[in-house]
Symmetry: C2
């Protein structure tokens, strides 16, 4: 038995998110079905990030256990042949048997993309949130700096969240404009339910001039979801990558405990 890690990219448009649920198509279900067929075993993946309906990923992570004799690093090629074209495995590798993608320290990077122009762009309409009124990206960048550091993010967490601890650390949050495209790039040790989308919705309020640049800092202090802005639509959000310390992914071939 070995534990295999997959790096999974997907266009979330037609999926009801990552997590398996009745009567809806999810990325987890597609992976379980195709892996079970490919390896001729019953496979259930454990995902790192249960992205919401319509959210995209360039590098979500999951693991599964298998008796297969196919070399771990070849599984991505075999699996990509049977997956739908909007789900593509970017990497497969063997990891220690005790590695759990939700129970380790990691750094997650998300991007929220906004198309700020007079008209929608047909190319990126599925990956960007279209905002017609002009946004001031400099003010958004200024406001976003209040997020950096370790804070209680209750104001930026859906009221439907179930985790009790709302303290997270944000390493950086940058708002970059390239012509009509505004990218909010945020890196942290973890994110609460809807957190990046509420941050994006709040920064948009600042960009529109409806709120001042101290809006984010004030909202953080109030520990109340109503103090922050609205939840921006899912289609603008992409989970870019999840980075784990390399040592916890590496198999120690000299250790019996890994066998």
């Amino acid at each position: 038995m070995k534990r295999i890690l997959l790096v999974v990219a997907y266009e979330g448009t037609k999926y009801s998110g990552w997590q398996i649920q009745p009567n809806a198509l999810t990325v987890e279900q597609v992976l379980n079905e195709e892996l079970s067929k490919l390896l001729n075993e019953h496979i259930e993946v454990i995902g790192a990030s249960r992205t919401d309906a319509g959210v995209h990923a360039m590098g979500n992570v999951c693991v599964f256990d298998s008796e297969t004799r196919i070399p771990a690093e070849k599984i991505c090629y075999a699996l990509n042949r049977s997956l739908p074209e909007d789900v593509v495995i970017q990497e497969s590798r063997e990891v220690p048997k005790n590695f759990h993608p939700r129970k380790c320290d990691c750094t997650k990077t998300y991007e929220y993309k906004i198309w700020n122009a007079d008209f929608v762009q047909p190319f990126n309409r599925k990956y960007t949130y279209f905002v017609y009124h002009e946004l001031n990206a400099e003010k958004m960048q200024e406001a976003a700096q209040a997020l950096v550091g370790t804070h209680d993010f209750t104001s930026f967490c859906s009221i439907h969240a179930t985790v009790p601890d709302h303290v997270r650390t944000i390493y950086s949050c940058d708002v970059i404009r390239e012509d009509h495209l505004i990218t909010i790039r945020i890196k942290g040790n973890g994110f609460l339910y809807n957190m990046v989308r509420i941050i994006a919705g709040s920064l948009i309020k600042v960009g529109l001039g409806e709120k001042d640049t101290d809006f984010i800092e004030e909202a953080l202090g109030k520990l109340n979801r109503e103090a922050a802005g609205p939840t921006a639509p899912a289609l603008g959000l992409t989970l870019v990558k999840i980075q784990y310390p390399e040592e916890i992914l590496t198999i120690d071939n000299n250790s019996d405990e890994e066998k």
Copy 2:
């Protein structure tokens, strides 16, 4: 009667190109049908560039004549409400009655995009040509410089082309790598049938190391389609913009001839 210009963006994936043809969905047909419904007149657009099946556009141009009393610059908003989501008008304006989008000097900019990685990216799979083997973008850039200037591009023109004159002027051709994405950006006064795709296919041969950096210069000199590389797939190609001199687009309100 006034002549109205549209700047048209489209994702070409599901269209059999621009030009109307029997038993196939084309961008021209969609525009004629929706404009005729909107303006309650029989409308036939004249396109600037008859892009091929699967080719995309951020800024193709067309004109049509109409008796409408809707202000020209409002037509884009009204038309976008009825167009499919993969065709979006970016601008509408009145132009002189004698302006013809194929019979004026203009500068056209195309981009050919290549995704050069181990795996396809689900986000841009419809807009980039996937190349697995590593491409040397610096060598492609070096080779591409032979295209700049005024040349007979017979070697880079489909044998199915019907125009007799194969002389065109290329103002610039640059090959830019950003991580896994390679963009060939080319600007010229006109392009022959399949010309950008043959240039892309030839530069890819150089990037793979199958041809030296003087391949493009040598192929140009031979005036023979067989001397150049293959035609790269349509999905990587985007017509970025068509620029006309502003004076030929501007209506002289003091002149009776325009009335």
